[in-house]
């Protein structure tokens, strides 16, 4: 378990997430892509914290911030999906021709 290996795995997760976020039509699937990207970033962060910074506690702190971002992304994402679905009956991105209400 070397730092390089960890970072490559993190890059793979990020790339798969990026693919999903760009290619998926469904809002929820798109959010899954975003989640995977944050997941990869989190892994890279902790890998650097554990193997390269000597366990500086602020690294873990940053990871907590990442997780907060993840939670916020989910909560607001679902709220927006619900709202868009309520107002426009749209569940895939193609149904949103304009972003103005």
């Amino acid at each position: 378990m070397t730092l390089e290996a960890l970072l490559v795995v993190a890059a793979a997760l990020f790339a798969v997430g990026l693919y999903g976020a760009i290619s998926q039509q469904s809002f929820v699937m798109l959010m899954m892509g975003l989640e995977l990207m944050i997941n990869g970033a989190l892994l890279a962060l902790i890998a650097l914290w554990a193997l390269s910074t000597g366990g500086n506690p602020q690294g873990q702190m940053l990871a907590i911030v990442f997780m907060t971002v993840m939670a916020i992304e989910m909560a607001l994402g679902f709220a927006l999906i619900t709202n868009v679905y309520r107002v426009r009956r749209a569940d895939i991105t193609e149904k949103l021709r304009k972003l103005k209400g």
């Binding site: 795995v9 990020f14 989190l42």
Partner: protein, 189 residues
């Protein structure tokens, strides 16, 4: 058995598992399976974090994702047609561009990971990382911690306001209509 060998084997299992399940998220017809594949991917990463001595973070990541993915699965089932994947389905757009973006980002990030020379300072095994995190949270980084808390509170308020039916200007779905689906037009750039 050699401890570092066990750790290595476990790491590669979890790593392969989390990448493969992460990929399967976008390859399954069933929405519920997609959510649970993503959960499996997170569990793999959480396990790697535990191996990396970030025990608390790893377990909390898994804890957090359980509820999140259940909600995701239910939302998928409720909003989407064909949630069980009884019909084969492939709902994508700009597919080639997405694949290219994925490959390029992977290649770029891997090159950075393999070429940059990071300092080699592993965590001291004798240090209790969980306790350190606790002191950090309620010590120097108290402000960051509190900010995160307030941000979450604001998110809760905002999310409820967005998702709720009754707003300041009457019900949210008043006069709403289903927009036409014109995929062909969009797909020809």
């Amino acid at each position: 058995m050699n401890r570092s060998l066990v750790v290595d084997v476990l790491f590669w299992c979890f790593a392969a598992g989390s990448v493969v399940t992460g990929f399967l998220v976008f390859r399954t017809d069933s929405m519920v399976r997609a959510a649970f594949w993503l959960l499996a991917s997170f569990v793999g990463v959480g396990a790697i974090l535990v191996l990396l001595a970030a025990e608390f973070l790893g377990v909390v990541l898994i804890l957090m994702m359980a509820g999140e993915m259940l909600i995701m699965a239910v939302v998928m089932v409720m909003f989407m047609m064909n949630p069980a994947g009884l019909n084969p389905m492939f709902m994508v757009h700009q597919h080639r561009f997405a694949v290219a973006a994925g490959v390029v980002s992977f290649a770029g990030l891997s090159v950075v990971a393999l070429t940059v020379d990071f300092p080699d300072q592993p965590v001291d095994p004798s240090v209790d990382a969980t306790a350190e995190l606790g002191f950090e949270l309620l010590g120097d980084s108290m402000l960051v911690f509190q900010t995160a808390g307030v941000a979450l509170l604001a998110t809760m308020v905002g999310a409820i306001a967005l998702a709720s039916r009754n707003g300041r200007f009457g019900t949210a779905d008043e006069g709403s209509h289903e927009p036409p689906l014109e995929i062909e037009e969009l797909e020809s750039p």
